[in-house]
């Protein structure tokens, strides 16, 4: 069965981890909030695991899910 991802962003090789000196790749990540989890695919450093949350995502989808969960 195909794994469900709530959101996918591919860095397309435009982001570089300064600590590890490698390009970020589309990787598996998970948002957690108030005991709820959401699998996503975001730009991730394959070495140190730095997960990038772009501004549009943080202020858009993430913020609206936060509001919804806060009122649960």
């Amino acid at each position: 069965m195909a794994e469900k991802n709530y959101y996918t962003i591919d860095p397309e090789g435009k982001l570089r981890c300064m600590k590890c000196g490698v390009k970020l790749v589309k990787g598996k990540a998970k948002f957690l909030y108030l005991d709820n989890g959401f699998p996503v695919e975001l730009p991730v450093c394959p070495v140190c695991g730095f997960v990038y949350v772009p501004e549009e995502l943080a202020l858009g989808k993430v913020a609206s899910v936060e509001r919804a969960l806060e009122d649960k």
Partner: protein
């Protein structure tokens, strides 16, 4: 760092009950849903307000439809009714009551008659027979036809015209013709020229489910039987009938009788489930101050023409109690009267699983208490919202997000920025000056000048306490935090020798008044007693005085402030909603944190009262008005000849508090100032600064991110923008920056954002 524990989970399955009785007693104070006095007086419950509104607009079709809801024969009722509604019209108290009956007559004459389902209209299986004639029989037949009971009238009259003549001699010919036509159009069967005998009635018992008769027939055939007036039934002989009387009695009697028929047809006790019948009492409040058309529109002929009727209907002032909705931006925003909103907020606290959709409204009230003052019955929306907030916090269902910034600010005020010192040269003091957190944040120079002045002119020493009074915890519904703050302040006050508190802010004064054994006065009281210092000056042009919601119910403080303004030479312009009825600026109750839009509407509501500059005596009011571009001054700025200038952003507010503390520690107590300098240069683009203020991101949060980058080297480079990106989890939020840099020495922040969710890499 200071942190507040976020609630653990959305999966909390408990509620803390607010007493339903308590809530109901609070809700009962709101009279918005009470009927207007005209409708309340009408036993048939005409929606007279809507009827007159339609008639005033010349929409007699709609007006008649509303009138036909209460009677099957509108012209008969309109011409024969005693009009109890007119006697109760509020306009009758100051002039002529609206001639409702005459408008009804005009509507019944010129409005189009309502048509029921026609040939396709379904009929009920149970049937009714009515014996006799007259108004009651006519109205009852009409009511039963409306309820779709197959109905047959047995009467002595030879035809329909003779039947309708009985009891309707007050109708003129054209009205009679109209009602005859209406009667012919109804689905009612007639048996004319009947001999109404006991035998006939008993014979028909088998053919019909319910038998009814006029009072005249029932009393003649069953003289021993007694009619129960509430039910319109002679129970011993199972006969629905009336008690006689005029048009109103017949129409109301027929309504009650029709309901009894309904119950009997279903084999149910006619005593139960009848709802509220007849005229009722109303406690609706009506503001008569704007009523101007006090005399009845004269009739050119014997009755109103449609134009005259519309003009007369237009005199109706549409009684509605909206005193709070007129004055409160919060209630206006949600377009709900407080009785309804309170019920919804109460229900919100009782949800075990599911969405709490009223969280935002309940957190948007400024808790200012204006509604309680303007409401004729003293409705207390603040109490409802505060109780609901406390209730949600106590069951761990209250989101932290709307209030976290403010609560952290309170902890900052009573942590890093807190200062409690006796006046130099004293160990304990007779007084302590408590300016309030917003004063130190917005006008630190004024705070300093005021305190130094008090030190110089008061005997016994004046200590200084820079901190938060605890109102923020209280407003957020966090009783535990409010109690902790209270205990903390009590300990600090004890160290200073339990001095008399001189409050610089009316809200602090109110909050601190809750401390047992604490003596507290306002700085305004002290200044009036010892006289104003040299150098103060009022504004050069007339100004509007904005009363703080913290001074509601405190006439003494409001007068003291006005006296100070007068002594400074200020000319004060009157504004509506001033004094005890003053609205909140939008800071109160943490409305500005939970709902910016509503808070902005609150500020606008304050400012729309006058175009003049505003003088206030709460620093939060001063700040919010200045942010809207209005010339805005705190009374203490005028007293001490200081000018706090342009309103600071959220980071500057913190910086100002820290700087004031450090400056005073250095200048007054000779302590080395705490190093506040960074060992690198940090700058912001104007856009970054704007978005930080809007997104509630502090320079401290930015510094935390950059410190992390400098420590760990963790950041990414975005080839598209040529900027670096880094993040740091601070408390319950992750802060992100986009920045450029020159090595480790200089940073320029371009963008900043945050989110509360945590994000982790996932295996697999």
């Amino acid at each position: 760092m200071t942190q507040i524990q976020e609630r653990g989970s959305t999966h909390v399955y408990k509620v803390n009950k607010i007493s339903k009785e308590e809530m109901e007693s609070m809700v009962a104070r709101c009279v918005y849903e009470h009927p207007p006095f005209c409708s309340a007086a009408c036993p048939l419950k005409l929606d007279a307000r809507a009827f007159l509104e339609a008639a005033a607009a010349g929409n007699f079709k709609k007006a008649l439809q509303l009138y036909e809801k209460i009677t099957p024969f509108p012209l008969i009722l309109a011409m024969g009714c005693e009009a109890p509604c007119e006697k109760k019209c509020r306009l009758a108290e100051i002039g002529d009551g609206v001639a409702i009956r005459r408008v009804e007559e005009a509507a019944a004459r010129c409005g189009a008659a309502r048509r029921l389902g026609g040939v396709f209209r379904s009929r009920k299986r149970k049937s009714a027979a009515i014996f006799g004639s007259g108004l009651f029989v006519l109205f009852l037949a009409g009511e039963l036809e409306k309820k779709a009971y197959p109905t047959t009238v047995f009467c002595e009259e030879p035809d329909l015209e003779a039947f309708l003549r009985r009891g309707t001699d007050f109708l003129d010919e054209s009205a009679f013709e109209t009602e005859l036509k209406r009667l012919k159009g109804k689905d009612i069967q007639f048996e004319f020229s009947c001999a109404l005998t006991r035998e006939l009635l008993e014979e028909k018992r088998g053919a019909f489910d319910v038998l009814c008769a006029s009072n005249e027939v029932a009393a003649r055939l069953y003289p021993e039987s007694v009619c129960i007036p509430e039910l319109m039934i002679r129970e011993d002989v199972k006969l629905v009938s009336d008690l006689g009387g005029g048009v109103m009695e017949a129409a109301f009697g027929a309504k009650k009788a029709a309901l009894t028929v309904d119950r009997l047809a279903q084999n149910l006790d006619p005593r139960n489930t009848r709802g509220q019948e007849g005229a009722v009492e109303s406690r609706l409040y009506t503001d008569l101050s704007a009523a101007d058309k006090l005399s009845r529109v004269p009739m050119a002929g014997a009755r109103y023409t449609p134009e005259e009727a519309a003009a007369e209907a237009g005199r109706c002032i549409q009684c509605r109690c909206e005193e709070c909705l007129k004055s409160c931006a919060f209630l206006k925003h949600y377009k709900k009267h407080p009785g309804l909103l309170s019920k919804e907020i109460y229900n919100n606290t009782q949800i075990i699983m599911g969405d709490h959709q009223l969280n935002k409204p309940m957190n948007s009230c400024s808790l200012c208490g204006q509604c309680t003052v303007v409401c004729p019955n003293g409705f207390d929306m603040a109490r409802v919202c505060r109780l609901a907030r406390q209730n949600m916090v106590s069951t761990d269902k209250m989101p932290l997000a709307p209030h976290e910034f403010a609560l952290l600010d309170m902890l900052f005020s009573n942590g890093d920025a807190f200062l409690a010192r006796p006046q130099p040269g004293f160990e304990t003091c007779r007084y302590v000056f408590f300016p309030g957190c917003q004063a130190s944040a917005i006008a630190p120079e004024t705070v300093k000048a005021a305190w130094l002045d008090l030190c110089e002119r008061l005997e016994g020493g004046v200590a200084l306490m820079l901190g938060c009074c605890g109102a923020i915890g209280d407003w957020a519904g966090r009783e535990e935090m409010a109690e902790q703050t209270k205990a903390f302040l009590d300990r600090e006050l004890a160290k200073l020798g339990d001095p008399v508190v001189i409050a610089g802010c009316p809200s602090c004064r109110k909050e601190l008044a809750g401390h047992e054994g604490l003596k507290i006065v306002g700085i305004w009281d002290v200044l009036l007693e010892i006289g104003l210092p040299e150098g103060g000056q009022g504004l050069s042009r007339p100004a509007a005085m904005h009363d703080s919601c913290g001074a509601r119910g405190d006439e003494k403080t409001r007068s003291a402030i006005r006296e100070i303004a007068k002594r400074l030479g200020c000319e004060l312009a009157d504004t509506p909603y001033s004094g005890d009825r003053s609205p909140c600026c939008g800071y109160g109750g943490l409305a500005a944190y939970a709902n910016r839009e509503v808070a902005a509407e609150m500020t606008e509501k304050c400012l729309e009262r006058s175009d003049a500059p505003y003088i206030s005596y709460c620093m939060a009011c001063r700040d919010r008005f200045a942010r809207q571009g209005r010339e805005s001054r705190h009374i203490l700025e005028l007293v001490y000849g200081t000018d706090a200038g342009a309103p600071p952003d959220i980071s500057e507010k913190r910086y100002n508090r820290l700087t004031l503390k450090n400056e005073l520690l250095h200048e007054l107590w000779g302590e080395e100032p705490r190093e506040m300098k960074l060992d690198y240069e940090l700058n912001y683009t104007p856009e970054a600064r704007r978005m930080m203020d809007e997104r509630m991101i502090l320079t401290d949060d930015v510094i935390a991110v950059l410190d992390e980058v400098r420590k760990t080297g963790e950041c990414i480079f975005d080839e598209e923008s040529g900027l670096f990106i880094a993040r740091k989890r601070v408390g319950n939020a992750t802060f992100w920056l986009k920045f450029s840099r020159e090595g480790d020495a200089r940073y320029l922040v371009h963008r900043a954002w945050s989110h509360r969710m945590t994000v982790v890499k996932r295996e697999g």
